[in-house]
Subunit: 332 residues, 2 copies
Amino acid sequence: MTISLHSPLDMHIHFREGDMMRLVAPLSAGPFAGGVIMPNLVPPVDNIARLEAYRAELDEAIAGESFEPYMTLFFRNYSEAELAAAKDKILGIKLYPAGVTTNSEDGVRALEEAAPTLSLMEEMGIPLMVHGETDGFVMDRERDFISTYDLLARRHPKLRITMEHITTRDAVEFLDRYPNVFATVTLQHLVITLDDVAGGLLNPHLFCKPIAKRPEDREALLHAALSAHPKLMFGSDSAPHPRNRKESAGCAAGVFTAPLALPRLAMLFEQHDALGNLQAFVSGNAQAIYGVRPPAKTVELEKSPFEVPSSYGDVVPMYAGQTLDWSIRSIA
Amino acid sequence: MTISLHSPLDMHIHFREGDMMRLVAPLSAGPFAGGVIMPNLVPPVDNIARLEAYRAELDEAIAGESFEPYMTLFFRNYSEAELAAAKDKILGIKLYPAGVTTNSEDGVRALEEAAPTLSLMEEMGIPLMVHGETDGFVMDRERDFISTYDLLARRHPKLRITMEHITTRDAVEFLDRYPNVFATVTLQHLVITLDDVAGGLLNPHLFCKPIAKRPEDREALLHAALSAHPKLMFGSDSAPHPRNRKESAGCAAGVFTAPLALPRLAMLFEQHDALGNLQAFVSGNAQAIYGVRPPAKTVELEKSPFEVPSSYGDVVPMYAGQTLDWSIRSIA
């Protein structure tokens, strides 16, 4: 059995910088035709000079690959001139509520402060991507943030808002409430729950933010993905950390999935007789939502075993050392 | 400020065997006058010969200390003769539902199979200690087990049943439903929630089973402990693992608290103006529930700084390298 995917997109990726970028960026740029590159570096990508330098570093890391990096800026209050200068270089601006996720300490404290820039983005047609968690109890953070999404969507009805890496049934249900609200979902949140992270031995390599939730949450996410809900896009949130930052007393959040995401998704969609919806989930929906036209690339996947490496460099991937049912047969 | 505790008891401890026992047993036997020693070794302590050998090893490890080890057997179906031979050597029998906690693979599959032995224990006055979790979703396991406790308590109304290391509001509320139901609670479940384990960086040293739950659960546990609920006893569930079994890709469950439990409890009870109830929580309640008479030992605690070591041997304790407000001043 095979399936050909046309220009698959990863709408949420962490490429990091330096050596780590040189390791991981090619692993995404091979099988994907494009992806949304997160700006939460230290310091964050929050001005044109930093954006251009980061893009140049990235172009070098993936030289020769047919891959479109959709760049993003880290949210702060930008002037109209800044936004005008950035508009053609970015797909959107990523907002991190202060302090809740990796390197987001510089994020905005309150949406009120953000209103002027959000209004400019709305007028200028610049999408907003949001890490939607409060600083409350870890299992409630996303659900408790829904009221903020609600406020945002109502106050800025023409602003395109993407709820990044949703993990709950509440977020899935919220998708249908406003026409200007969209979402990405990761691979891991379609297949694991908190049980896989902490139900047996504690597995740091499955620890991410937002944390994997309850079985009923996974079911809602999976149903939306398998049915290719038109407002839902695949975004791996693939987030590499060196092994010693994961297998440690203070384990960093992030699951590394980029090189195995497409085989695992094919396996998942096949198991649920939904292979026909995979194209929309990994590319079509994102093209429609953002109006992007990624480079032509055909990835042929086949139902044959793929043994996931135990590590890529010093980064341990999801399913390290395990065998998946599907593999990439060719990329053209 | 000082407080003198008389014969403090730790009603749930893991002493392990061999080198680990020689490291950790003295750390409990110093400040405590006695404790309930868990039988989930490999192989389990489930016969008299193993029990006596384990007790002998333990006596050697704590030679010179005034500490009464209250031994337990690992639950299996025992004959009346076996129970009669064991009765004076144990405080009770510990039941692990199959497969849910460390080394409990040999636990019973279904309580129905256990009924004959439970009836014998009831007649002979041998208490039952239970690791009360189902194999369901990790945040629901204890709550879902309550119906099993309910069945046990009704079917065996004279069997003394201790819900070990309770972690939920549901379990606290269940305490008052039957006269023959009691509970232990750990230090960590009085002070942490899942947020401390997985809300920031993932902290393997706070990972235990049952996993720390929600804020409202902690509040219910804390209220019961601070008010010295007469059916609730302190049981640390102090569970040492070498560092490389914690800071690893598959982190073992257990928090090591024995050497700092009394100072931290004094600090906690003082913060809530409840120092007057600490004696009952750490000794009186257990003496009343089990009818035990531990050796005389007076532990004087004072409000002066105690820097918790970064490790004891190769075992990282809770609060490693942090400073607590209270310390042990003298043991006599």
